[in-house]
């Protein structure tokens, strides 16, 4: 269902594009050899160039280039053999050079796409461009009443700016775009996708227009929307705000807005409204970035299986439902866990269901990443095998899993310690059934006379009670039916 904003005067649609800044996974910065690790002491990861010492010069990091190229190729973008680093000139306390080295007129890659799942089903969203640039440092404003504190650890960290076309039409679609982009980056290993640490940041360009209009409205840019949930929130709020302004006869001011995650609202950044004139020009300290066509092709050929292809494979090869297939494909670690689990020939659908319903909720509740799961795929496999061999019921398996989660013990150990193992031995159960029938002649009579055929189920219950719930229910049922039939004849 196409997303609409219902105004007082009719229906509106939103037109959106996302600009994502993804930190390229490297050990050193884009143009200096300082470390990029998160969480260091202020200004402890700063080389002379990062502090813009006079006379220092940039030299480009080859791995950052490879990472960006692989990302662009995974987004089916055209990677240009020649791209140019330019200077974007502006003054800010955490921009030591007084310019940001970025790419402008000749970016690394253009014209890619990403398939999303949203309000209108599956759609391809265009990627306008992907380019490399340096991050700025960080200004801390709350350490002092009249001063700001500047930390340059982030200054020079390599970023990819990935700009979508204005193809997005709804919050679900935008959320899917961000989620799928993140999954792609993590699968490629080109960005850790950690939105809390700022490795992945998102700005939203949004305008609204009446349904049926073809002209684009004036857009605003909402910055600092750093989670999938906030993307949905920010879009809903901003679209509603714009519609309200327009319906009251107002005009949308082209402006930059800052999203406040605490309030779930954005506000205008008036200070940014001063006309910027970035005076881009090719950085004369760097020469054009030139990549060989064969090298680009090598990178393309060596791309790993991407999340969407993997989800498709899980659906087609293993018969998983689309939602489970995506959940297991989105994170490379999920897929790895799943494939390790099924590799012993276990039923993929059952395994998938188990992961999605039990393991993922346990991970969520305890806030643990799957890679750090206390229950390994091998250990979980043993548990699922017990279920498969009818040694445990589904309910028992869950209990055992919960104990496994606490750590230390294997499924077999827990089953043994708790005496949980299901009785699936026909002779043992047959004896229990005979005992139940002999102890309850009235109920047998009810069955034989045809007064109450449902009494068979009651006998199964008696058997379960007698075995402390350990009887295999299917087998007990069959044996009760057999024993009753025998008495009938």
């Amino acid at each position: 269902m196409t997303w609409r904003i219902q105004g007082a005067s009719g229906a509106w649609e939103a037109v959106m594009g996302l600009e994502v800044h993804a930190q390229i996974l490297t050990v050193s910065k884009l143009f200096s050899s300082a470390a990029c690790a998160f969480g260091a002491e202020a200004n402890a990861q700063v080389n002379l160039l990062d502090a813009a010492l006079p006379g220092t010069l940039p030299v480009c990091n080859d791995h950052a280039v490879t990472q960006a190229v692989r990302t662009a190729l995974a987004l089916s973008a055209t990677v240009h053999e020649t791209s140019v680093f330019e200077r974007k000139n502006y003054f800010y306390a955490d921009l030591p050079l007084g310019y940001q080295i970025s790419q402008y007129q000749q970016p690394l890659a253009t014209e890619g796409e990403l398939e999303v799942e949203g309000e209108d089903g599956t759609r391809r969203i265009g990627i306008e461009r992907l380019h490399m640039e340096q991050d700025a440092g960080k200004s801390v404003h709350d350490m002092h009443d009249s001063a700001s504190f500047v930390d340059l650890n982030r200054a020079g960290v390599p970023l990819m700016e990935i700009v979508s076309c204005p193809d997005l039409r709804g919050p679900k679609e935008a959320a899917s775009y961000l989620r799928r982009l993140r999954a792609l980056l993590r699968t490629l290993g080109t960005c850790d996708g950690n939105m809390n640490e700022g490795s992945l940041r998102c700005d939203i360009n949004l305008s609204v227009r009446r349904v049926g209009d073809t002209e684009l409205g004036t857009r605003t840019e909402t910055k600092n929307v750093n989670s999938v949930r906030f993307v949905v929130q920010a879009i809903e709020r901003e679209a509603a705000r714009q519609v309200a302004v327009l319906e009251e006869g107002g005009v949308i001011v082209q402006e930059t807005r800052l999203f406040d995650p605490n309030k779930g609202e954005s506000r205008s950044m008036r200070s940014k409204e001063e006309a910027h004139d970035y005076r881009y020009f090719p950085d004369p300290d760097l020469l054009p970035l030139v990549l060989r066509a064969e090298w680009i092709e090598q990178q393309r050929a060596s791309l790993p299986e991407l999340p969407q292809a993997r989800a498709r494979r899980f659906e087609e090869t293993f018969g998983l439902a689309p939602s489970a297939a995506w959940l297991l494909s989105e994170e490379p670690d999920n897929a790895e866990y799943f494939e390790a689990l099924i590799c012993g020939g276990r039923d993929p659908v059952r395994c998938a269901n188990w992961l999605v319903t039990n393991l993922f909720s346990a991970l969520n509740e305890s806030g643990i990443e799957i890679a750090d799961s206390p229950v390994s795929p091998d250990e979980l496999g043993v548990l699922l095998d017990l279920v498969e061999q009818d040694k445990l019921s589904g309910r028992q398996a869950k209990e055992v899993f919960e104990e496994m989660w606490q750590g230390g013990k294997s499924a077999t150990e827990i089953v043994k310690a708790r005496g949980l193992e299901q009785i699936s031995d026909a002779d043992t159960l047959r004896a229990a059934v005979e005992l139940a029938l002999n102890d309850n002649p009235e109920q047998v009579e009810d069955f034989l006379s045809g007064r109450n055929e449902k009494v068979a189920g009651w006998f199964v219950g008696q058997v379960m009670k007698a075995t402390g719930g350990k009887a295999n229910p299917q087998l007990a049922n069959r044996l009760v039916q057999e024993a009753l039939a025998k008495r009938k004849s």
């Binding site: 300082a34 402890a44 990861q45 700063v46 502090a51 791995h63 700001s148 504190f149 970035l289």
Partner: protein, 93 residues
């Protein structure tokens, strides 16, 4: 080059021009533009722009950490620093 342009450009360049000097500066800049206006007379056809005399491509360095300055060195020339940070007048936003 009028005085309002001088003000705008000075503000972009973060230079403070004194009110009483603006006219002189505007004249000086105008004289320089007079010199560079010869550019307009050149027949450039389809000549591709030249950014640098270097013909090659930008070299790439291996992705390795090599610290070339300590935290102390980074901060020692700073006019104002505190607790390992550079300190500037409060930025509002």
């Amino acid at each position: 080059m009028d005085t309002s342009t001088v003000k705008k450009v000075a503000s972009l360049a973060r230079l403070r021009v004194k009110e009483e000097e603006i006219t002189t500066i505007a004249q000086e800049l105008q004289a320089i533009l007079g010199l560079v206006d010869q550019l307009a007379k050149v027949k450039i056809d389809n000549t591709a722009p030249m950014t640098t005399p270097s013909a090659g491509k930008t070299p790439l360095r291996p992705d390795a950490i090599e610290a070339n300055a300590s935290r102390v060195q980074i901060l020692e020339n700073a006019p104002q620093s505190e607790e390992g940070f550079f300190v500037v007048p409060k930025v509002v936003e």
